[in-house]
């Protein structure tokens, strides 16, 4: 729960490099440093090769008017691609759609995940069964999950309208119903992970704390908000951070369920459609850079907000 756990390496290494003879110690430190770099270099190189290099390439491409179908017509256009994207109402609509999906899925995942974690933590019998069942959606391929939900709701193969007595409602014929099914599928697929994460956090909260609160007459609701949730703050923040960034990058489900029809296109989908679908690499690269910048700013904002939170929590 503390940051000390992040630095065990430092403590162990310090313990070993005892103040022995000066020259030998620095020699050993140098060898250790070299070995450290040698062991991490391959992993670092692979990660850089496939993220940093293409990202710089995207930055470069975004300054050109460049279509794969017309390589000869490639010409530098400065920042015009960005101007084109930012002036296009479609970009802003896709941003809004993506934000709506984040706002509809992440809070539900957290509440449902917490409920499932509480269930698994508290139940006397059947915990293993619940956990096993929840691991199934976690393991399933996102495309399969999206297909299952699409075929369950679609008006030619689906059973959902029959079960709910909705007649011939065309779920994928309207924007909000389509978004609803997309979000439901995302929630189903990702809540199990959230709940397992929160369960691990919940297990770290000492039972005595809650028992003491109960003795003092706190209701179950008060215990949850005043004792349990504050004690697992760190886990909650990690869950929020990762789920928000993940939800903002939503792509697979939309591809399978609507292919962006009924104005359900996300920012990721727009970038994909420009680059791979229309082979407009220049314009697509500009969308990619903007997507990258939005993810980066969300990450920085959340990390910053959480740091303040954590500092306050420690101070209190």
């Amino acid at each position: 729960m503390t940051t000390a756990a992040t630095d065990p390496a430092r403590s162990s290494a310090h313990a070993r490099s005892s103040p022995a003879a000066g020259a030998r110690a620095t020699d050993r430190a140098r060898r250790e440093r070299r070995l450290g770099w040698a062991l991490t270099a391959p992993a670092l190189a692979v990660m850089l090769l496939v993220t940093a290099y293409p990202m710089l390439d995207a930055l470069w491409l975004s300054l050109f008017s460049y279509r794969l179908t017309d390589p000869g017509g490639r010409e530098p256009v400065g920042l015009r691609n960005y101007a084109v994207v930012l002036a296009d109402p479609l970009w802003w609509e896709d941003v809004r759609t993506t934000v709506v999906i984040v706002l509809l899925t992440v809070p539900v995942e957290l509440v449902l995940g917490m409920a499932l974690a509480t269930l698994m933590h508290g139940i006397a019998r059947g915990r293993g069964v619940v956990r096993t069942a929840l691991l199934v959606p976690y393991g399933i391929v996102t495309v399969v999950s999206a297909f299952a939900w699409r075929s369950a709701f679609s008006d030619d193969t689906g059973f959902v309208n029959g079960w709910l007595g909705l007649g011939d409602l065309a779920w994928f014929g309207h924007r909000w119903t389509s978004l609803g099914v997309i979000c439901a599928s995302e929630i189903w697929k990702t809540t199990p992970f959230t709940s397992l994460l929160l369960l691990a956090g919940l297990a770290q909260v000492p039972d005595e704390l809650r028992e003491a609160a109960q003795m003092d007459g706190a209701s179950a609701w008060q215990r949850l908000w005043r004792v349990t949730l504050p004690s697992m703050r760190r886990t909650l923040l990690v869950a929020i951070l990762f789920r928000t960034l993940d939800a903002y990058r939503v792509f697979d489900s939309i591809f399978v369920m609507t292919a962006g029809a009924q104005r359900t296109e996300s920012v990721s989908f727009l970038a994909y459609r420009q680059m791979i679908g229309r082979t407009a690499l220049g314009l697509g690269a500009a969308v990619s850079i903007l997507l990258f910048l939005s993810v980066l700013s969300i990450a920085l904002l959340l990390v910053r907000a959480f740091r303040i939170e954590l500092v306050q929590a420690r101070g209190a």
């Binding site: 991490t40 992993a43 670092l44 496939v50 269930l119 399933i140 399969v144 970038a271 850079i289 997507l291």
Partner: protein, 275 residues
Amino acid sequence: MRRGGRGAGWTVGAVLAVGWALLPVAWILSLSLKAGDDVQNRRFLPTAWTLESYRVVFRSALFTSALRNSIGVSLIATTISVALATLAAYAIVRLEFRGKRLVLGMALSVAMFPVISIVGPLFDVWRSVGLYDTWPGLVIPFLSFTLPLSIWVLAAFLRQLPWELEEAALMDGATRWQAFRRVVVPLAAPGVFTAAILTFLFAWNDFVFGISLTSTDRARTVPAALAFFTGASEFQHPAAAIAAAAVVATVPVVLLVLLFQRRIVAGLTSGAVKG
């Protein structure tokens, strides 16, 4: 209070949770067993069961090659990713050098990275260097996006090992490499295994690279093939065949998950709670 949940409310909650988790899976299973007109009967269960859709799927060259590609690419990516991650995690946990923050920071950034952003440039580069529509063309991006997970899981695991044993081996005159191979590797095996399972699940789930960097059955993976699968003929509704393919794609991961659930849960949550 921990073991207190025995009332009817808890049981109802557990039944609801299990039902919610399994209903969509039961649905594709049921859909995959439907025959002919049943596909569009808009009921949950088929009126007659048939394995015809599975026959269609396994006769389809597109799907069988996709299955081969998915298994091959995921296994290769998992093996290399876990090997590289083991070395990196060992260095992060055991050695004192400045680069370790860089590696951890890099891993975190890659984990948050919007994959779509690099698909265009990769597509462009892969086409010019001949990696487009090949196994290595998928293995390389899989590697870089599974490395963060493997590094985190392994570093969290290695931190808990009894390192005195390695110290003792070094004292007794073993070289670092000998100590690593004879002492550290056997101790770390369960963590390596956990990282391998999680990495495999991650690679198996990939869709973005699968559709962007492949075009034929040379390298197209199962999730990508599923999205483009249209069934045996245009006169048949493709839903049942797609469902059968989806079930086939799901069986290996569900087996993995069920067999190794303790490890998976421990591995998934190790970094987040303590890290």
